[in-house]
């Protein structure tokens, strides 16, 4: 292990390349289904298999999805999109080239804002987002000597989101990936599932002395199948590369693979072995032009983005940053909360309900908010019951809420009435209860009057007990004080 002092001399430089599989129904350049998990080679038309004489055709939905991501990242949208061929031989690549974008990606520049654990904020700059097609899958079955290929995935649309070498810590990388995943899910363009490979990440990692003007030689790390592993790989590479520099060993540009079991990276191939991809403009596709009207129609259909909702929750609803962060974690939670806030103006109470009872119920049963039985209207009505003094929070959360979860067709008021839980706030009917409590506890009343003011709580408890929890605490306190303090 290197000492903190040595490590402190160096700066980590990371750029991430994220591939997101788009949730279109058909492939990037063919009409085959993109459905996941079907029998091998059942979604393979002549186009997917690269039969001679076939020509690709761009899936406009996929273009829209790429544009949505670009708009969400404040990228510049390229109006005339030219595709390119990336040439290499591999059995899972049916045409011997991948149709991608080289010069002139659909989205240029842009940024992804991230918030770190200490509350500090940064914006990670993007280089580009471009469209391309996925490859098939080579399969090595047990007992099978030959390698088999499943082309179902071949041609599934992808976007590749390429960041600038702008990331300076594993924590930033992690936060960036969380943000990317949140964005693609908000936009409904990718399911964000890294384990199933619908979100994939490669990292370009280098180190340099702090204040240096030139980056060190970068190493590309692949095969990290979770955000946590991306962070681990970056941490390991930083250590490894700093140690090499300290020992005077030259770092070589190479591709390394991450081993999740050991947390280490190992060399896959050096740059010298790399393919010359011989990119050139795809002559089989006419350029895809993004007209003003088309772009406008995509903009209009854009959902609210997490940062916009965050801003709204903090500035319009007056919620703490923390609350806004939790509530915008997923689009579905944020949407529910927005609906809830249309029905109640007690935003902080609404937020507390979401982060407390609602979340714990969902967590306990591992449900999504879409499966939550209580409507925003009902939850707002429950908050209103508390605000109107008809029930207190503990009665609401412990008695009415569980009942509401079971009987989603009843209103909170109905439940409160049926369970006889409406608070007694009428002085006339509370007074006899207060009087009888005091009459039964003459000795304590005397102690109180001689200065033991702490007994007030005991009297309150008795009043609550006698009223079966329905006494409005404010009214009861007022009545008790009137008698005891006179």
């Amino acid at each position: 292990m290197l000492s903190a002092k040595i490590k402190d001399k160096y700066e980590l430089v990371v750029g991430l390349e994220v591939h997101a599989q788009l949730l279109t129904k058909s492939k990037m350049y063919a009409t085959d289904s993109t459905e996941f998990g079907n029998m091998p080679n059942t979604q393979v038309s002549v186009l997917t298999l690269g039969h001679p004489g076939t020509l690709p055709k761009v899936n406009r939905r996929a273009v829209e999805f790429a544009i949505k991501m670009g708009l969400a990242c404040n990228s510049t949208i390229t109006r005339k999109n030219i595709f390119a061929r990336k040439n290499y031989f591999y059995p899972d690549l049916p045409k011997g080239y991948q149709i991608t974008q080289d010069k002139g990606p659909i989205c240029v520049g842009g940024e992804v804002p991230v918030t770190l654990s200490d509350g500090s904020k940064r914006s990670i700059a993007l280089t580009r987002i471009h469209m391309e097609e996925d490859a098939g899958k080579s399969m090595h079955l047990a007992g099978e000597v030959d390698t088999l290929v499943d082309f179902n995935r071949a041609g599934v649309p992808l976007i590749e989101i390429v960041s600038e070498p702008d990331i300076r810590s594993s924590e930033e990388a992690y936060a960036y990936l969380v943000e990317i995943k949140k964005l693609v899910k908000y936009l409904d363009i990718c399911d964000g599932n890294m384990e199933e490979g619908s979100l994939r990440c490669d990292a370009n990692i280098s180190v340099m002395l702090k204040g240096a003007k030139e980056y060190g030689k970068k190493v590309e790390v692949k095969n990290m199948n979770s955000f946590r592993n991306v962070a681990r790989a970056i941490e390991h590479e930083f250590e490894r590369q700093v140690a090499m520099v300290e020992e005077g060993v030259e770092i070589i540009s190479e591709t390394r693979t991450f081993d999740a079991a050991t947390g280490l990276t190992a060399s896959m191939r050096t740059k010298e072995d790399l393919n010359d991809y011989r990119y050139f403009p795809e002559p089989d596709l006419s350029p895809v032009v993004v007209s003003e009207e088309w772009l406008e129609s995509i903009k209009v259909a854009m959902p609210s983005l997490p940062r916009e909702l965050h801003h709204k929750f903090v500035n319009e609803f007056g919620l703490p940053e923390y609350d806004a962060g939790v509530l915008t974690d997923s689009k579905e939670i944020a949407r529910y909360f927005e609906k809830l806030c249309k029905k109640t103006k007690n935003y902080k109470a609404a937020s507390n309900w979401m982060m407390g009872p609602v979340k714990s119920y969902l967590n306990e049963l591992t449900l999504h908010i879409e499966d939550f039985p209580v409507t925003p209207e009902q939850l707002a009505a429950l908050i209103a019951l508390i605000d109107e003094g008809k029930v207190n929070f503990s009665v609401a959360s412990q008695k009415i809420y569980p009942e509401l979860l079971k009987n989603a067709n009843k209103s909170p008021l109905q439940i409160a009435q049926e369970l006889n839980l409406i608070q007694e706030s009428d002085e006339g009917s509370l007074k006899p209860i207060v009087e009888s409590v005091l009459a039964e506890n003459e000795a304590k009343v005397a102690e109180y009057k001689s200065g033991k003011k702490g007994l007030m709580g005991m009297f309150m408890g008795q009043v609550m007990k006698k009223s079966q929890g329905k006494a409005d605490p404010k009214v009861a306190t007022k009545l008790l004080s009137e008698i005891l303090d006179n």
């Binding site: 004489g53 049916p94 089989d284």
Partner: protein, 477 residues
């Protein structure tokens, strides 16, 4: 006795009930058999052609026949036809049967044309003599010791020897026009993107076109108007409406014609070709047309530009033939890499391998800008020059080829000499403009000479009308 020498003949015979489609197909089948040694056909669809003929005969009697009813067509072995084998004359596609039909062929079938078989050609359309074919060479019926031209040599000879009414070829750098010239036929390369490439086994995507061989201009125009036009399967095809070329063949205007010094004065040009070309230009002047000489200083860059760009595209287009999914796979592989190497080494012919290597080279990182990028720029210059010239003039006239048909093996050891055969035809290919070759007499040996006429993009109607006019006034033929 030769019969059915034009579609007009056929239609008249059908109308007069002198014959039916079945008899026409049988006539051609007989000819194919008699002239089998020419090796024009790779495969004859005897049964399906006769079956189709019966169907068309029924349609004719019920008055529901399409506009190509009675026309018998052969297709080049690079146009796929559902459930039929397509090899692109290559061993690498041995046994490959397509699951779909090319748009061009389908449109002909939809108008009741009868597809009689597939025709020999240079492998993947690469060649100017039809000597590069896994199916063997094709003989020129005008002189069986000579090549028919290429790459669509089989398509040319099939019409030349009256083995079908018309045929389809493909033209990437002259592969219809040059063999048309060598066999004395009318052959057109339409504007790039005029005919859908769906189902055309690609050689160079940004150059490939589908063209037609015929004995006369009207038949050619009719077939082209049926094939051309928008197609959902090809995003690069033009959306422009297709005029009825065959109904627009009347020509009565005063034409402005340019001829290029560098072509007519080319040292490579055979003397009789020059004199026959000049004779046509003189005749045009005589008829009151404006004929002017224009310099084309870029001519020497046309071939290099063409070979850099087409081989680059070809190297990528032919990557899919790797033995993994279909076609030929070497039986001698011991791992993935040797499977690739041996499959491709054994499956492709010499010329195809040469072009794949050349294309891979010009696209490689260290040479990309020096070759590919520069060639793209020069292509733009040639295109701009040509289009500009074709706005000032209605037509450009030049010889189709520098020589008439040469002997087998004459250029086999000199690929560059072979490439020079395309010297005059590649300009239209690089520029994308339409170009037609029409017969222009014969040389001393009795070998056909071709005259090439170019017009601006999408001016096929004007080009056909003028080509017909030229044929009518030409005293050479």
């Amino acid at each position: 006795m030769e019969k059915f020498l034009s579609f007009d003949d056929i239609k008249k015979s059908l109308e007069n009930r002198e014959t039916d489609c079945k008899a026409i197909v049988n006539y051609y089948l007989q000819n194919i058999q008699t002239k089998a040694h020419l090796n024009a056909f790779v495969e004859v669809y005897k049964d399906s052609a006769l079956e189709q003929a019966s169907k068309v005969d029924e349609k004719i009697s019920s008055g529901k026949a399409g506009k190509l009813a009675g026309m018998v067509i052969g297709i080049k072995d690079v146009l796929v036809y559902q459930d039929h084998e397509s090899n692109a004359s290559s061993k690498i596609l041995k046994g490959f049967k397509s699951q779909f039909t090319s748009t061009a062929v389908q449109r002909l079938i939809d108008e009741d044309a009868i597809i009689i078989g597939r025709l020999n050609c240079d492998e993947f359309g690469m060649g100017s003599s039809n000597e590069n074919s896994a199916h063997g060479k094709v003989l020129n019926a005008a002189d069986e010791e000579r090549v028919p031209g290429g790459s669509s040599g089989g398509s040319a000879v099939a019409v030349q020897a009256n083995l079908c009414t018309v045929s389809l070829g493909t033209d990437t750098g002259g592969s219809v026009r040059q063999p048309a010239a060598f066999t004395g036929l009318v052959g057109i390369k339409p504007t790039y993107s005029r005919v859908s490439r769906w189902g055309l086994i690609a050689y160079a995507s940004s150059f490939d076109t589908i063209g037609v061989f015929s004995r006369n201009v009207p038949d050619n125009a009719l077939v082209m108007e049926v094939m051309a036009g928008p197609d959902n399967f090809d995003s690069t095809v033009s959306r422009k409406a297709v005029p009825h070329y065959s109904e627009l063949l009347h020509f009565d205007k005063r034409a402005k014609v340019a001829y290029l010094t560098e072509t007519i004065e080319s040292p490579a040009l055979q003397e009789e070709i020059k004199s026959n070309t000049v004779a046509v230009l003189d005749k045009l002047k005589e008829e009151g047309h404006q004929v002017e000489e224009v310099h084309f200083p870029l001519l020497k860059y046309v071939l290099p530009t063409y070979y850099i760009l087409t081989t680059a595209e070809a190297s990528s287009n032919l990557s899919r033939f790797d033995g993994v999914k279909y076609g030929y796979r070497t039986p001698n592989a011991h791992n993935l890499e040797s499977m690739y190497k041996k499959t491709r080494s054994e499956g492709f012919g010499e010329e195809v391998k040469r072009r794949i290597m050349l294309g891979t080279f010009v696209l490689s990182a260290s040479y990309y800008d020096a070759y590919f990028t520069k060639a793209q720029r020069v292509r733009r210059l040639i295109k701009e020059f040509t289009e500009d010239l074709l706005t000032k003039y209605d037509y450009i006239i030049m010889p189709t080829t520098p020589t008439t048909a040469f002997k087998f093996g004459e250029h086999s050891n000199d690929p560059v000499a072979m490439y020079l055969e395309d010297l005059f035809t590649v300009q239209a290919s690089v520029s994308g403009v339409p170009s037609i070759s029409i017969p222009n007499g014969k040389d001393k040996k009795g070998l056909p000479i071709g005259l090439q006429v170019m017009a601006n993009s999408f001016k096929e109607a004007e080009l056909y009308a003028f080509a017909k006019y030229l044929t009518d006034i030409n005293s050479n033929s």
